[in-house]
Symmetry: C2
Subunit: 273 residues, 2 copies
DNA sequence: CCTGATAGTTTTAGGGCGTAAAGAGATGTC
DNA sequence: GACATCTCTTTACGCCCTAAAACTATCAGG
């Protein structure tokens, strides 16, 4: 029988995440001064994960980077799980909290999406965090707050907006995940990003003869040439899967506009059968 | 220095994934008959993951369920990593390959999205698979093939369609992930899904006083009442985050329609500044 | 029938991991 | 100086994946 973290543990971990404001208590009393800090530990852990991936992240490894044993970390952090939560929230701190709304919500959302995507790609391990429980740290909320503030410009009602927020957040995360995946193999084999699909396709045709006949639509989709599409407003993050991100985002934004138009007509719910 | 799987290993793993067609070779020669099979192992592994989550999945655990030692599995499967790939592809086999297109692409895409989401929710561990490398199994391609076949009805060109496919696949996966996350804690604490947010919000306000002032837009979004919205065509999968899925999907489909309309006007690239 | 090769399975072992528990050493208060 | 307290290390346990060796059941050829 596995015992999961209860409400009490949830409170401890939340307190650590939100510690900045409430933890100005002065330290007094006997005992040596702390040689480490939560921040230093989180920094070291992020450095390990950035350099060698989430699989290489271990308490011993992080301690080693700080010149300590792995167990020393437990003075500052209750467990590895909490450390990962802290890493996650710290990575999101890189994102700006404000966006210029003078160019309209569409431009601002595009900037938000690109920057968030770029952050995920700088720290691909973020995409592996929190698959089984929410983190709910201050910076995660800040990212959403930023997006919601932009989207309120659309005038859409809250119920719809919730769906739009989820749609945008999920799309950006998923798109980043796709890129992070395709970057894995090339880093080892030396195949440049662009040729990754063709190398995989060759392997597929070898091991699965008749691929093209079995998946005609996929084959059609992948063999069609990329439409030259220089859309400067969304275009400076190209590369593998870059065009898919750009066009996907454009479709999404068009959907928001269509929903706005429909709401303006006094037809808030989708009426098409 | 960690050594990653090379091209040769990739070929072995692909051969296992695609084994159905090419592996009808009769077994002859001395030695005992195989008492297990790849299929039986994958079934047992999925049963373990469904029941106890990905964290509880271990070679020993799967072997035990089959009345063998953990090492016995290595006769059939090269490593745990390949086994997980096989589990992933097998789970996706539950999804139908065909969709009725007589109701139009919009209805068919909705059905595809709901069924895919339901599959993810039946096997939440699927959402934790393949975070660092693509799987590329036959059923994963079948899921995409199905979606692309539907979307070709829109008449959109391939370049745009790639973006739409990514958008849809990422959204469905992300939405399912959100639900799977929020289901984790309640299962232990007995809090019903619906009240999860309110319990968390209370904890937040306790540990982070001034939350509402710091994240006004998020607070606004979450405190607004849910719009009663009975859209029967997409509405039979409600529950927590269900409305967000429904509205997000509606926005997405509207975006596809808007893109189609724009393409029909001879304006394939998004022209809005 | 016997022998030897072969292949399924288990045992053993090695190097990871997270972390509980106990000890060592430093630092402050009294 | 004594002692409480705090940081940090050591040791240890149980789990993980899996390489290698040992065991065992089966079949082919003599």
């Amino acid at each position: 029988m596995v015992v999961y973290a209860g409400q009490g543990d949830a409170r401890r971990s939340m307190a650590l995440l939100w510690r900045a404001e409430a933890q100005a208590e002065k330290r007094t009393g006997p005992g040596p001064k702390p040689g480490l800090s939560v921040d230093a530990i989180v920094d070291a852990a992020i450095a390990v994960a950035d350099a060698e991936g989430m699989a290489a992240l271990s308490m011993r490894r992080v301690g080693e980077r700080l010149g300590r044993s792995g167990m020393a970390l437990y003075t500052y952090v209750p467990s590895k799980s909490e450390l990962v939560d802290l890493m996650y929230d710290r990575a999101l701190a890189e994102l700006p909290a404000e966006h210029d709304l003078r160019g309209g919500w569409r431009t601002a959302v595009t900037a938000w999406a690109e920057q968030t995507r770029a952050c995920y790609l700088r720290h691909p391990w973020v995409l592996q965090v929190s698959q089984a429980r929410p983190v709910l740290g201050p910076n995660e909320f800040a990212v959403i707050e930023t997006l919601v503030r932009i989207l309120r410009e659309t005038g859409l009602e809250a119920g719809i907006l919730r769906g739009v927020v989820a749609l945008l957040a999920d799309f950006v995360r998923g798109a980043a995940r796709t890129v992070a995946e395709s970057r894995q193999a090339p880093a080892e084999t030396g195949v440049p990003d662009e040729e990754w699909w063709h190398a995989r396709a060759a392997l597929l045709e070898e091991v699965a003869p008749g691929f093209a006949g079995r998946y005609p639509s996929v084959t059609w989709l992948e063999t069609q040439a990329v439409t030259p599409r220089r859309d400067e407003s969304v275009g400076h993050l190209e590369g593998i899967a870059g065009p898919a991100f750009t066009t996907g985002l454009a479709v999404l934004l068009d959907g928001i506009e269509a929903t706005m138009a429909r709401a303006a007509h006094g037809d808030p719910a989708r009426s098409r059968s």
